[in-house]
Symmetry: C2
Subunit: 345 residues, 2 copies
Amino acid sequence: MKNDRFLKACRREEVDCTPVWLMRQAGRYMKEYMEIRNKHSFLTMCKTPELAAEVTLQPVNKLGVDAAILFADILLPLEGMGIDLEFAKNEGPVIHNPVRTKADVDKIRVIEAEEATPYVMEAVRLCRKELEGRVPLIGFSGAPFTLASYMIEGSGSKTYINCKQMMWQAPEVWHALLNKIDEVIVRYLKAQIKAGAQAVQVFDSWVGTLSPRDYEEFVLPHSKYVMDNLKGEGVPVIHFANNSSTLLELVKKAGGDVIGLDWRINIDEAWKRLGYDVAVQGNLDPIALFAPPEKIGEMVKEILDRVGNRPGHIFNLGHGIQKETSVEHVIALVEAVHKYGKRNL
Amino acid sequence: MKNDRFLKACRREEVDCTPVWLMRQAGRYMKEYMEIRNKHSFLTMCKTPELAAEVTLQPVNKLGVDAAILFADILLPLEGMGIDLEFAKNEGPVIHNPVRTKADVDKIRVIEAEEATPYVMEAVRLCRKELEGRVPLIGFSGAPFTLASYMIEGSGSKTYINCKQMMWQAPEVWHALLNKIDEVIVRYLKAQIKAGAQAVQVFDSWVGTLSPRDYEEFVLPHSKYVMDNLKGEGVPVIHFANNSSTLLELVKKAGGDVIGLDWRINIDEAWKRLGYDVAVQGNLDPIALFAPPEKIGEMVKEILDRVGNRPGHIFNLGHGIQKETSVEHVIALVEAVHKYGKRNL
């Protein structure tokens, strides 16, 4: 590995410079990505390893980030489970057979990842080959709650009414569904690691809709199952729960070598609450990329100053890059991290 | 006042029973409201004191809540400022002349509330008359950030890109706009109090999009100006900032006799962080109303148990009632608060 800052930081080891990568760094804000996207559907891109690998490498070449993250969608493993998934134009994912009852849960299949999503593993292998050890490759999966929320609601949601109704009215159905999802996630991430992923991130994008008591009862045991089952795999696991600053202690209890932070909390305060036996990742507001480059630099410096010299910080946004973002501003961000994040070893 | 539990709790005095009212208690989930709404536009309802008073009283009659809140919209004061506002069908508010530049801000007018929104003050007077002292009447306004966000974005937003760009690129324009908004809010709330509002709530519905450092620099001074200028008015001020559990200490610093809490934090933990020299309001997940009534009762009891015997808690949801909510479940909630919230005086 020519650049191992990212992996070292995950292990809380000293680094020459704070590593940086960005959630959704392979995406629509980039001209090179859109050239491919204009020729292929989103799902075709995900399912064609050559295309997935190509867009995975684009930000590494263009931005100089310290890690690549596999181009894929968190919902891909759902198809093998029997979910009828469509990416409707401008509407995001739509599930035509949402899971609402015990009978629906009974029908859900738990199959092997190589069988359900062979193209993902092939993309991982291809990315590793094409990266030639320049930077590490991160694999990823949705977390149990976030995958369940799509399966139950049938799409994105503002209210999660169906999800919460299942938790409160039929907790045994909820847990039965989550047990199946947990197992699929573990198999999916183990397969990615086996194929060559050098770290994995678990995205709990929508769990911020829950109260702490509901997180503790209905989510924590499932996220913990996933984390516990990845412990022996020898790669760092990043656990990112968006909009969950009040859940941080519970997220840590669920597990992960690195805890992802959104921008709603100061990083020093968050790390203190978590304890220094985990690494942290974050936490710039993704909208900061719409500020002038000098201002971006100031905001980067402020986060790095809050972290100080403590090893174990991976710079990232607090959520994914917006599609209207300017690539030049993203490059300015990466340069600012590498400038202000230099350490005297 | 026949029922003064709510006002006593705002002042942290002992009460016979925990008071309860619900954000958006006058609204579309109620048959009686829809009967009027089907005959009139939303804006007509807001601007016709007889209709506004009628829907304000509906939840008092139907639910047995301990306070009425004026039926109005937070955007009403914007029209007098020169904002071209429309409530588009199913799309929420649309502003046809969003504020983006210094020239736009210069054009914004700061006028007297009785001149800009006489119908609001008339509705307050009418509500007081029709309530006949049964329960207190709460007036309200949007907070500086939330009103500014609509004026700048031109509608609701997921990203607040234009708002944040103004803060970061042209802070003097941002503060000039907010100074005008602050003054309008103070005049608007003072006029409501003069007309008869017995408490007022300031809603910062969207401020949860900000990092603590941005809140502190760009919002806190403005919210504080509003709170400071209401101190001499002799009525309790409730300050509710949604999705802002990490900002609680700053929200308290801005001011308010009662701090509103969403459902993302345990109420005992939040109150401890705030300090016991303020009252608190909240904090049930509004989606809890979709649970079976027995489960609603359990969730109510859990919040009341966390509060214990400390005076100064007003029961409420952590955000507004959803339009799909069952009225019977709302009644079950109010009954549960009155059952489990009884105090031995």
